[in-house]
Amino acid sequence: MVKEKIMRTAKRVILHLFLLAAVLISIFPFYWMLSGATNSSVNITGGAMWFGSNLKENWSNLQGTANVFLIFWNTIKTTLIYTFLAILICAMAGYGFEKYRSKGKNVVYAMFLLSMMIPFSAQMIPLFKMASKANMLDSHVAIILPTIAMPFLVFFFRQSFQSYPTELIEAARVDGANEFRIFFQLVMRPMKSTFAAAAIYAFMKQWNNYLWPLIVIQSNEKKTFTLLLSSLSSAYYVDYGQLMLAIVLATLPIIIVFLTMQKQFVEGIVGTSK
């Protein structure tokens, strides 16, 4: 009995030590990012690990380089609008593919999924031409529109809707509810975690979006955060303090979104919608 207990405790200690090491490894870059934001560039390249006193100077340097608030606002704006629209459209599409009957539905769906295999770099130039013909260059609409119907999200929603009982939808129809009402009230509510997971996914995707905004945005006033980070890091003399502070600012929203929606995210991915 006693032996067994000792064995169990030992196992747990080893397990926790292992997990602790894993935590340290994954936390360390974040710690270094934060400490870097408070150090001068010389200290960072010199390998400083502890917090410094340069935060204020880094901030004023960053402010001097670019209009951080405007860039932050641009990024928040495009990301939120994108997330909202992408979820709405992809959820409706996924729902339609799953719950409505129509000829050729699966062929269309298969083609749609196949488009996931075309790399973005191959779509870049045609998309750019389209954007320029539509007079959308240098606008946030051009960032948002092209990927609003994201094959992955449609697929994700369709899979999730499979677990939603069709009988409930039919019963609602018999009771006289129209299709929009069924979708927005009957289907959407119990699938909350699915939507949360999709929201995180779309948010991250747009927040980190780099190549397309780079190509389509022309002026300093329309820039998003990824573009700022990119231009900060390619100077002849890179000010790492300033760069680290910008990275902190760029990372915060994602951390906040993820932490607040983590539970739903995990549930949504695992597929245990209640």
Partner: protein, 460 residues
């Protein structure tokens, strides 16, 4: 029930509202910007007739869009140029908009826009001399021919050569990578050498000095980046007037005497234990700032990295780089990098853009003084080197006339044909050097491999 309907209507309205909302704001923007109109009122009434005659909306203010990288260097310099132009030409009626991007981003955007038929392009773009040839070749006719627009004899000949193709000059030369040897005099003196001993060396002499310094101080003599030693290679190569490509643009690696010597010198440095291999560019800056290496070979813009270590003020000196003893063509001057301003042929404000470049970049030595003082940008305009700025003493470099040194080095730099594919060639050379360091191959074999790799990559 009704309330629920209302909620749905609200949702729908919200969606439509956001859509309509962004549509409105975005559509308005590309046409005219508000700040410009304000600036317009300030800068006077009528547009200059000569430049704007053929433009449909003459009289209105025009925007010259410029793409460049580095907010503290190129971007700052062009903003200064815009101020100077606005002051000296109050009725030119143009607004200069400098868009700050990273260097790689400039290339990606330019490539996409040129391949996509030419919309969304800037009016002026900064390109490195190392890569511009690629764009001139791939997109012929996309850049304006400036041959007749400037007196290019007033600019450094090696810079003009770099932006000239088939007898046509396509860019206004801007900054140079005049190469110097930056070194810590205090460490060199500890080993018994003087500032005098560091002048006009050969690489053999440099290695000898390096051995003594490393032995006596325990600090390694020179720093290069471990996985990319091409700064040294390129500096040595151009000091002989040779390059990865010959005058006709053909690959010139396996029979390149300068490359052979450069490889040999770098291997000897490594064997002598005087070469510090930094793991990255950050590691290089860190090593210099920490005092773990004595010297570095690089361009004028590198000085800002050295200056970061304020406690080392007065300890640094700069000298001409060593030359290769066994090659008679080798001189104590070279160049690494540099960039120039290109005007896009299809730009709607092409004439205004050229007039702007003429107005500031040609003839205005005060402007060159300002950018030298504020940004440390070393222009290519020869009359610019005659001003008082070049007699100024630099405290960080122990009162040395640092700018004067560059002005002295620059006219000596031998022109070469950069060929447009320097990044690709650098990759091949980096691989070859790594194989050589591992002792797998001889110098000749390493260079043969590099030539084959590059030829394969460029499809030649």
């Amino acid at each position: 029930m009704k309330r629920k309907m209302a909620a749905m209507a609200m949702t729908a309205a919200l969606v439509l509202g956001t859509l309509a909302g962004c549509g409105k704001t975005e559509n308005a923007q590309p046409e005219t910007k508000e700040e410009e109109t304000v600036a317009d009122d300030a800068s006077g009434e009528a547009a200059e007739e000569t430049e704007t005659a053929k433009e449909p909306q003459s009289g209105e203010e025009k925007t010259i869009t410029i793409w460049a990288w580095d907010d503290n260097f190129n971007v700052a310099v062009m903003k200064e140029a815009a101020n100077v132009y606005a002051q000296s030409n109050p009725d030119a009626n143009v607004n200069v908009d400098v868009v700050s991007l990273s260097k790689e981003d400039v290339y990606v955007k330019l490539q996409t826009a040129l391949a996509g038929g030419g919309s969304g392009l800037p009016d002026i773009v900064l390109l490195e001399d190392y890569v511009s040839g690629k764009y001139l070749n791939t997109f012929p006719g996309s850049f304006a021919d400036l041959t007749e627009k400037f007196d290019f004899s007033q600019f450094l000949s090696f810079k003009v050569d770099a932006v000239t193709q088939d007898g046509k000059t396509y860019a206004v030369p801007f900054d140079t990578g005049a190469t110097a040897l930056y070194y810590r005099l205090d460490l060199v003196e500890q080993a018994g050498y003087t500032e005098e001993d560091m002048q006009d060396l050969t690489w053999d002499e440099f290695i000898e000095i390096g051995k003594t310094v490393t032995e006596k101080t325990g600090v390694q003599m020179i720093v290069e980046i471990a996985n990319n030693k091409t700064t040294l290679v390129r500096a040595m190569m151009q000091s002989c007037g040779l390059w990865y490509f010959d005058k006709d643009g053909n690959i010139n690696i396996k029979d390149n005497e300068a490359l052979k010597s450069a490889f040999d010198i770098i291997v000897r440095m490594k064997e002598a234990g005087i070469l510090y291999e930094a793991e990255s560019t950050e590691g290089r800056a860190g090593a210099l700032n920490n005092g773990t290496v004595v010297s570095v070979v690089n361009a004028p813009w590198f000085i800002s990295s050295i200056r970061q270590a304020e406690d080392q003020s007065g300890l640094w000196r700069a000298a001409r780089i060593p030359r290769i003893a066994e090659l008679d063509s080798s001189i104590n001057a070279s160049n690494v990098g540099g960039s120039s301003w290109y005007v896009l042929e299809k730009s709607e404000v092409k004439d205004e853009a050229i007039a702007f470049l003429q107005g500031v970049w040609e003839g205005n030595t005060d402007f060159y003084d300002t950018i030298m003082l504020n940004q440390g940008a070393m222009g290519s305009y020869i009359p610019g080197y005659d001003t008082g700025v070049y007699d100024e003493e630099d405290e960080f470099f122990g009162g040395q006339k640092l700018n004067g040194l560059f002005a002295e080095i620059l006219p000596d730099v031998i022109p070469v044909n950069f060929g447009g594919y320097v990044a690709e060639a650098n990759d091949a050379i980096t691989t070859a050097l790594a194989n050589l360091f591992e002792g797998k191959v001889t110098i000749d074999e390493a260079l043969e491999q590099a030539e084959a790799q590059l030829a394969n990559q460029l499809g030649r």
